[in-house]
Amino acid sequence: MSNYLLNQSPFFKQGVVPSTFSDIFENLFSFDKESELSSVPLCNIEWEEDQVIVTAELPGVQKEDLSITVDQKNLSIKGERKIPEIEGKSLLQERYTGSYERTISLPYLIEDGGVEAVLKNGVLTIILKRKEDSKPKSIEVKIN
């Protein structure tokens, strides 16, 4: 009889996990990817002498809902992820919905029009070219 009651829910009740499902792995052998639970997306940043490459995890964000701005040495990424349009009863809600925002300090000024961005597979890649007159210049110094 008890099995019958458990089977009323398609996702068995067990332990401390949410009541509508049972997650075998829970948190063992894994660590949190905070971006999926918060409004601050995780970013990777790589910079060379002439360009900066920033990648950010933004699953489910549409490019229409994304804004990228560069102001002096600050890169700002803003986005929004909307609630799924599914007419049904919510059994579990772990995914973040709402606004994303991240501001990153850049090591140098960026060329006007020198920013390219691609959003693919939930990962945003931004390439920012260094402003020409902010590049280090080689000056020959005469030594007397």
Binding site: S22, I24, G122, V123
Partner: protein, 118 residues
């Protein structure tokens, strides 16, 4: 035997119940959508739904100026599912780093019993 060294991430999941289906939505950014059959495994059998995906990550080459907040790894999550799910019928799609799965409910057979009144 190869030693698995990739870190394992637990994707965040939403589940909705509709009249005839259960809808799974899992955040799995960074899978190579061109080779999705090779990098994503979805298995529904023996009362378990398994989601396994390997992220694609292009490591910066030759640069020492790198700050990494996320790394290459493997998404993995396993759910026990109930008996009212049809394990032979599951459909899904991977869009913008999100996996959408539809699990069908089994059709319930209702036997109407006529009661004779004496």
């Amino acid at each position: 035997m190869s030693k698995e060294t990739k870190p394992i991430f637990m994707p965040s999941v939403d589940i909705f119940e509709t009249e005839n289906t259960y809808e799974f939505i899992a955040d799995m950014p960074g899978l190579d959508s061109k080779n999705i059959q090779d990098v994503l495994e979805v298995v529904l059998e023996k009362g378990q739904l398994k989601l396994i995906g390997n992220t694609y990550f292009q490591k910066p080459e030759g640069s020492r100026n790198v700050k990494l907040e996320y790394i290459e790894g493997k998404y993995q999550r396993i759910f026990k599912v109930g008996a009212d799910i049809n394990e032979d019928d599951i459909s899904g799609k991977y869009v913008d780093g999100v996996l959408y799965l539809t699990l069908l409910k089994k059709k319930r057979i209702v036997n109407k019993i006529s009661i004779a009144v004496e």
